[in-house]
Each structure stands twice: as structure tokens, then as C-alpha cells.
Amino acid sequence: MRGAALLIACVSLASCAPEVNLDADLRQASGRAQHQTAPASIPVYAGDVEEPYDVLGDVEVIVRQQSALGEEPTRDDAVRALREQAGRLGAHAIVMLSFGEPGVSFWSYHELRAHGRAIRYR
């Protein structure tokens, strides 16, 4: 019973920060990088770039507000999560960034989806 109470308390506290759900699609990927890149310095573009590149994968994030008392997720939260996923892949940039309409979902009071293509310059 005590364990259950502890679990409930942990879950309640954890739900105050936005929850990030990651997804990735490798159908368009042309290869994988050897090294990771620093996520904070990965540039993000809404459109495409002219410099030749290889595609590492399409990355998607869903940022969710977990409880009525939790923080409402922002586009910055979504971009930060995208950069982390792209950095893990060794991306030089994220192109074609786009956002869905924020709103209520089956899982959350407030949800925001974003995706982009992680690329590495040749």
C-alpha cells in the first residue's frame, strides 16, 4: 500500500512538466552518421536548404501537458525535443519544420505535435 502511495505521488509530481513523446521514420533516410552532434547548435529551418545533404530520418515529437496544473507545452519545448533526437542521429540541421494545431487530445489536456527532417550536409 505504501509503495502504491509513493508511486501515485511520483506520478503526480512528474506530470507537472510537459511530457515529450518521440517518434522517427526512417523510410526517407539515405544513411546514418558516424557521430552525434551538439543538439543546442543544430539550426532549424521551416523550408528546405540548397546545399546538398543526406537524410538521416524524419523526426516527430508530441509535447503534452499531463495535468490541469501542469505547464502548457510550447513550440520551444517541441523544437528542443526535435533537436535532441536529431543530435542523437548526428544531424547538421533540421529542415521542413512544421507544427500541428495545438489542442486537446485523447491523452492530454493540451498537446502539440511537430516534425522535421534531420539532415547531414555532404
Binding site: A4, H35, Q36, E51, G87, S105
Partner: protein, 197 residues
């Protein structure tokens, strides 16, 4: 309205309440590039760690709910016959087994603990219902208080297990089969051989 159409209506109502949308799909991979610009775009520095596969977060809520659906009838019978412990076994064992099958032993342990606590709560609620009815002089006894306690215990355990524990983060399949992109010592492309098996 039968049970199936009522369930469908409820599901439709729940989905209609969802207002969040997905972004538009990304176009196919670009293969042809015009003359590259004279000035190179800024590149973030590589860090001394091998690239990791992308990860995906998954939920398997449906499997846990299905297990509970299977286990709930014997569990309710167990409340009236606590000596038949096998009636409580599906509810205690099935959800942790599903966590293990999804590669989440930690969640399985938490789920098992949660289920044990739930069974303890239900046992107490069952005994409370018995004593409530033993003290009652009415012909038909409805132990409302104990029913509420049992319901709250059951719903809490199933909600925590299916929503908060039934999820995992795993590598995306196929990443390791992709060819490694060639990079020379000076950062220029070189030649490499890749293959899919």
C-alpha cells in the same frame, strides 16, 4: 441502444473532443540539388560519441486494458470467495506479464506491487461489505460504501497501470541496416560500401 453502439458512440464522442492535429506530411526525399551555394551553411560540431539510433515512445495501454477485461469477472467473484485465490491470479499476473513481454521488467515489478495493493484493498472492501450486511436487518443488502471503495481501488490501479506504466521507449527498427555516410578526415565525402541484410 445495445452495448456495441453505446461503446462506439462514446468512442466517437471522445475522438470528436480531440482538437490537436498533426502537421502536414513531409515530402519525399530530395535527390537532385542545384549548384550548391558558395557559402556553406553553419554546421554544429560533431561530439565524440557514436550516433545512436532514433527512439520512439510507444504505449501498450490496450493490452493492459484487455488483460483487465479478461481478469475482472473472476476478480469480482474472488471478492465474495477470498479462499479461492486462483480467481485473483489473472488480475495479479496478466498485466505484469504484458509488461515483461514488452521488455519493461521495471514496470512489471511496479505493476505487480500495484496489483498486490489493489487485491489488499479489494479484500478489505469485501470483508467490509460482509460485515456491513451481517449488521443489516434488511432482506436485500446493498453495501454501497464498500462497493464505492472497491470501485475506487480497481479504477485507480487500472488507470495507473494502463496510462502511466504501459509505455516504453525503444530503438527504431532498421537504423542499423542503413549504410554509414562517408566522411573523409577533412570532412569531405569519401567512398564507402553499404548493404542491407
Amino acid at each position: 441502444m445495445d452495448a456495441r453502439s453505446a461503446t462506439a458512440s462514446l468512442l466517437l464522442a471522445a475522438l470528436a473532443g480531440c482538437t490537436a492535429t498533426s502537421p502536414p506530411p513531409l515530402p519525399p526525399r530530395r535527390v537532385a540539388f542545384a549548384q550548391p551555394p558558395a557559402q556553406k551553411a553553419p554546421r554544429p560540431p560533431d561530439i565524440a560519441r557514436s550516433a545512436d539510433p532514433p527512439v520512439v515512445d510507444e504505449r501498450y495501454t490496450g493490452w493492459i486494458l484487455l488483460a483487465d477485461l479478461v481478469a475482472i469477472a473472476p476478480l469480482v467473484r474472488w471478492m465474495g470467495r477470498p479462499e479461492d485465490i486462483y480467481l485473483a491470479a489473472p488480475s495479479l499476473i496478466l498485466p505484469p506479464v504484458i509488461h515483461v513481454l514488452h521488455g519493461q521488467p521495471q514496470s512489471a515489478g511496479l505493476s505487480f506491487t500495484l496489483r498486490l495493493a489493489m487485491l489488499g484493498g479489494l479484500y478489505l472492501a469485501g470483508r467490509s461489505a460482509e460485515s456491513e450486511c451481517d449488521d443489516s436487518d434488511e432482506y436485500i443488502c446493498v453495501p454501497v460504501g464498500s462497493f464505492f471503495i472497491a470501485d475506487a481501488v480497481l479504477v485507480t490501479a487500472i488507470t495507473i497501470d494502463s496510462i502511466f506504466l504501459a509505455r516504453r521507449r525503444r530503438e527504431v527498427d532498421g537504423w542499423r541496416r542503413l549504410p554509414v555516410l562517408p566522411v573523409g578526415p577533412d570532412g569531405r565525402p569519401g567512398l564507402s560500401l553499404g548493404g542491407r541484410f
